[in-house]
């Protein structure tokens, strides 16, 4: 493919393309020669398949995600809608505190909607959220899964907590706002999930 690469992530390359007249991106998972082919091909296949399913399901539970155009599991390729907006990672440190609170609250609500349907994103960082006209979109479900356990929901939020602490450390209230949104929109016992996060933190080394 000769399309322009807009992002090279750890496991995939994202290129812009045109799909039947629409602006689209191709997410192509790249084989990694550092790992043996048995592991590599099974990871690429399973993640491509799982990611496509999760993106489709996330949409059906009211979380904004890119529209899926085409999926090729064997080649590890997904073609989806191009989202023109801002990565939350790039703007969260510079917007006003009020706006930051609003965005974080929205993040919490969206994660809760995913969790209400037992969808686990698996890599909730601000690099994986795009704000388009004040609507928060989630991308990159490559490490996601469907799981009913409280533990996975806790781990999902814990990943976000660490991402916020490391990338947006000068704004320490971000995660608190996220939890406010989460608690509001989560249909189960949100406190149980919050306790789980504390458990996970304690379980970590040197806490």
């Amino acid at each position: 493919m000769t399309n322009k690469m807009i992002y090279k992530g750890a496991e995939a390359e994202i290129r812009v393309t045109d799909y039947m007249g629409k602006n689209a991106v191709v997410k192509q998972r790249i084989p990694k020669s550092y790992r043996i082919s048995e592991i590599d091909s099974s990871l690429i296949t399973s993640r491509t398949k799982e990611e496509s399913k999760l993106i489709a399901e996330a949409r059906s539970c009211g979380v904004s995600v890119p529209l899926l155009f085409d999926i090729n599991v064997a080649q590890g390729r997904i073609i989806m809608q191009y989202l023109k907006g801002d990565r939350v990672k790039d703007i969260l440190n510079t917007v006003s505190e009020q706006q930051r609170k609003k965005i974080c609250y929205m993040i919490g609500e969206s994660v809760a909607k995913l969790h209400n349907n037992n969808l686990i994103h698996g890599d909730i960082t601000t690099s994986n959220m795009i704000l388009v006209d004040n609507r928060l979109h989630f991308i990159d479900f490559g490490l996601g899964s469907k799981n009913t356990e409280l533990e996975s929901k806790g781990v999902d939020l814990h990943v976000l907590m660490e991402a916020l602490e490391s990338t947006h450390s000068q704004h320490p209230r971000c995660f608190k706002y996220v939890l406010q949104g989460y608690t509001k929109a989560f249909e189960g016992n949100a406190n149980a999930v919050l306790h789980k996060i504390e458990d996970i933190v304690r379980r970590g080394r040197y806490r």
């Binding site: 990694k32 000068q170 970590g204």
Partner: protein, 331 residues
């Protein structure tokens, strides 16, 4: 400035002496002595006794090998944590005693940060790396961001070295079993599937350990199991490191810790680095494992940037986290 560093967080004690030459670290001596348990893993009290017995000697050797006398030393650094309590206390006691007797300042440093700084200090082209720090107890992906060394990914349960050691102990290998397991893995021919557990940039090994032990119970070939453990665990480590590099947009990767001696892990991370056009660094073998020189160097960097520590502030911290360190010596 001549800085002596005393290490003793776990099964090894070390005393190293370094000198700053235009901002890079010159190692004058680096003596390491390791406690070998008669059976099983590290027994903390016995390890601490071992350290107490040999520390004075190790320090004396390091001074002698550097062709110095005690009066040439300007600073005493020691590893304040994280680590095993009794070992840390023994090390800290030795450092305090040395500081009081030669009347030179004392600085306690973070062991994990020292692993990263020794890479920057001794490898010229290594300036702003993502460190994959893999040892018995520790498995962390560390990088500098927003004024601190932050942990971008780490194990959610046990360290990779601990995982290898526990498996090795089960099949009768002596501690530390990593190197023996590496040899066995070379004779592996068939990949047996094991759990590959990555959560964001974090990683977990206990499921892999249990599954590997089940393969032993099923009488699968030991060489194949060792091969599969290494391939799975190291691929996962390489992947989280690459994720952290993509996330932090850094183009250098540095290895540190005892497990970084493993050739397969090295080659995986090196291949990953090549494929991303990133630079790959490993410190010299004796600076990669637990050692005093890295402690001496970090102590120097801290002291040089104005950090001072009173005797009262020198108490150890078993749970000294990487991101608790105020980084005063770099922007």
């Amino acid at each position: 400035m001549i800085s002596v560093g005393i290490e003793g967080t776990a099964h090894s004690i070390g005393s190293g002496i370094v000198k700053n030459v235009n901002g890079s670290c010159h190692v004058l001596s680096n003596i390491i002595k390791t406690y070998h348990p008669k059976k099983g893993g590290i027994h903390t009290r016995e390890a601490a006794n071992h350290h107490a017995e040999h520390l004075a000697d190790v320090i004396a050797q390091s001074v002698k090998q550097a062709h110095l006398s005690y009066s040439d030393i300007d600073l005493i650094s020691f590893s304040q944590g994280p680590g095993l309590g009794p070992c840390l206390r023994t090390t800290a006691t030795a450092a305090r005693a040395l500081s009081l007797s030669i009347e030179k300042p004392l600085i306690g440093v973070n062991h994990c940060v020292a692993h990263l700084e020794i890479g920057r200090g001794t490898l010229d082209a290594c300036t702003d790396p993502v460190l994959l720090y893999t040892s018995g107890a520790n498995t962390q992906v560390i990088a500098f961001a927003e004024g601190k060394y932050r942990v971008f990914g780490e194990t959610l349960d046990i360290g990779i070295g601990n995982c290898l050691d526990k498996f090795g102990r089960g099949i009768g290998l002596e501690f530390p079993s990593g190197p023996k397991l590496e040899k066995l893995a070379l004779q592996g021919t068939e990949y047996l599937e094991l759990p590959y557990s990555i959560k964001g940039m974090d990683i977990a090994f206990s499921g892999l350990l249990t599954a590997a032990e089940q393969l032993v119970a099923k009488k699968k070939r030991i060489e194949d199991i060792c091969y599969s453990i290494q391939e799975t665990a190291f691929a996962a480590l390489t992947e989280v490191t690459e994720r952290a590099m993509a996330h932090t947009e850094k183009s250098e990767v540095l290895l540190g810790g005892g497990v970084a001696s493993n050739k397969r892990l090295r080659s995986m991370v090196e291949t990953m680095a090549q494929e991303r056009n990133a630079s790959f660094f490993v410190p010299a073998q004796d600076l990669c494992i637990d050692n005093g020189a890295m402690i001496a160097w970090l102590g120097f960097l801290m002291y040089d940037s104005g950090v001072r520590m009173t005797l009262e502030e020198s108490s150890i911290n078993q749970r000294f986290r990487t991101d608790m360190v105020e980084v005063t010596w770099r922007d």
